[in-house]
Symmetry: C2
Subunit: 314 residues, 2 copies
């Protein structure tokens, strides 16, 4: 079983509008709601792939109850822990005329030290039946910056491989606990390390403790630097659609690869195909299954020689 | 007691953001929630003025429960009727850098004919203890276009004066029931009658059945055409702020005037002062009490001779 952790779980709300009136009033044509947050999206993809996944994390308030109802509807095993605050909503406004989406992200509930201790105790129980742990997304207000470090330590005590998809200080603070895999995107690489060059940023993150780094570079595909070697994996052609959730699909494929002991080139090919198939699907956590099957055979994976960056920024 | 009716009650959510990123992601700095919809805003103002007001209308789902909790917090007597659908949220995104607010309006719950019959039965009980009835705002999906007409007929059977703040077909369908007062704004006058000239539009609405029309013309103040005479009431100076709720404050003052039997010039002066004081307050349903006291003495009310419009549009 793969355990996915979403500390800042969300109710993802989608508003379809004809045209967003900035500074005015816009009538919403249709409202859709679904449980979200990166770890929940990863679990949804894993479930569709046929891998049993359990979801844990923090939820609270009326929005927390709505998240849990939706998890039950999606048949995702729910091991969420309740906090007193109100879970966040994200509101995606899909502008049909402009063909663009604007997303509003609420901050999430304030978590107390006692609630955090209760969560880590529950997490320590849950890891006993897990074979891979995936930790994804932002931290809600009130959590210590080393929250992911604490969870990695607990997973490490059970010898479990871990995938961490985070950024900034929570990511940097977690690296000494040696996650098996981290999956930053280009923006997160730059924002976390201050390095403009992805390869230099990856090298820094590995020096700080990450065993393997798989960086998602948008249309360029994935760049993986691991103890077993380095690879680039590229989709055969660009895919248009909604990039939200593409990274989560890649994480799901990589976590499934860790579970199965798949070799890197195969796991990376699947991650690129699943990521592109997720872009083609309208909602995060979904993917276009036919496109996924087709692309899986077409992804180009090539060995890559890491270079020293020519222009370090600091 | 003044009974206010909000058929499409809402949970008004305010998001404070640094800068709205259209087509991108925006972090919400702070979330505030409050029961809304025009009739609820009117009741809130009446309560602050010291007039007992009761609120009725339709609520449903988790959002409906949140609306009722907030009514209880605000000590507004709650006679809402529950429907199966989900009450709407409105999301106001306050952009601090741009100094502008963008509002997203969900459609509201779909109401069945049986639920509407249950509401009219409840309304017929509630009017027995009311002395003025205020009907405000849009209709949720599923209601008949003559919903306000039906409620006006019931109030009329009890000889109650009625204030109607609506627009379009629901307003036109209600006029034969002879509401004591309607309060369209400039946009609503034009959209409802097709007349570009406010005076021509007011004349039409009175011909169709409205006893008195008090039109709110933004910074120009109010234009009242009544069986007792016609007046213009203007604020002494423009007030900057949030115009949402200014119309509801004017309706509250006019309803209080009907209850007390206040003469029109005094009632209009209070409506203009309260409306301007509402613009100066950040949330709909609130007003700046000191500004209200100061402005009340300074509003210029002048008799007005209705003219035939020089350029009728059709």
């Amino acid at each position: 079983m793969i355990l996915t952790v979403t500390l800042n779980a969300a109710l993802d709300v989608t508003y379809r509008v004809e045209r967003l009136q900035v500074g005015g009033s816009t009538r919403v044509l249709a409202v859709a709601e679904r449980a979200g947050g990166k770890g929940i999206n990863v679990a949804r993809v894993l479930r569709t792939l046929g891998h049993p996944a359990e979801v844990t994390g923090l939820v609270g308030g009326a929005t927390g109850r709505a998240i849990r109802l939706e998890l039950a509807d999606a048949a995702l095993p729910d091991a969420m822990v309740t906090v007193a605050g109100e879970s966040r909503r994200t509101v995606a406004v899909v502008d049909e005329q402009a063909g663009e989406t604007s997303v509003l992200l609420e901050p999430g509930p304030r978590v107390t030290p006692g609630q955090w201790r209760a969560f880590t105790a529950r997490f320590a129980e849950l890891v006993r039946s897990a074979r891979v742990v995936v930790l994804s997304g932002s931290l809600p207000p009130g959590l210590p910056v080393d929250a992911y470090a604490q969870l990695l330590r607990i997973a490490g005590e059970h010898g479990l491989p871990t995938v961490l998809d985070a950024e900034g200080e929570p990511l940097l603070a977690a690296l000494p606990e040696r996650p098996a895999l981290i999956k930053p995107n280009a923006d997160e690489l730059r924002a976390t390390t201050g390095e403009a060059d992805p390869q230099a940023a990856i090298a820094r993150l590995r020096e700080a403790g990450a065993r393997s780094v798989v960086a998602s570079l948008g249309a360029e595909g994935l760049l993986a630097v691991t103890p077993e070697g380095s690879w680039r994996a590229r989709p055969p052609h660009p895919v248009a659609g909604n990039p939200t959730g593409a990274g989560d699909a890649a994480v799901a494929a990589l976590a499934a690869g860790l579970l199965a002991g798949t070799d890197w080139p195969s796991a990376l090919a699947r991650a690129v195909a699943l990521s592109a198939a997720a872009v083609a699907a309208p909602l995060a956590g979904s993917f276009d299954a036919a496109l996924h099957r087709r692309l899986r055979e077409q992804v180009a994976v090539t060995a890559h020689t890491p270079s020293t960056p020519s222009t370090p920024t600091r």
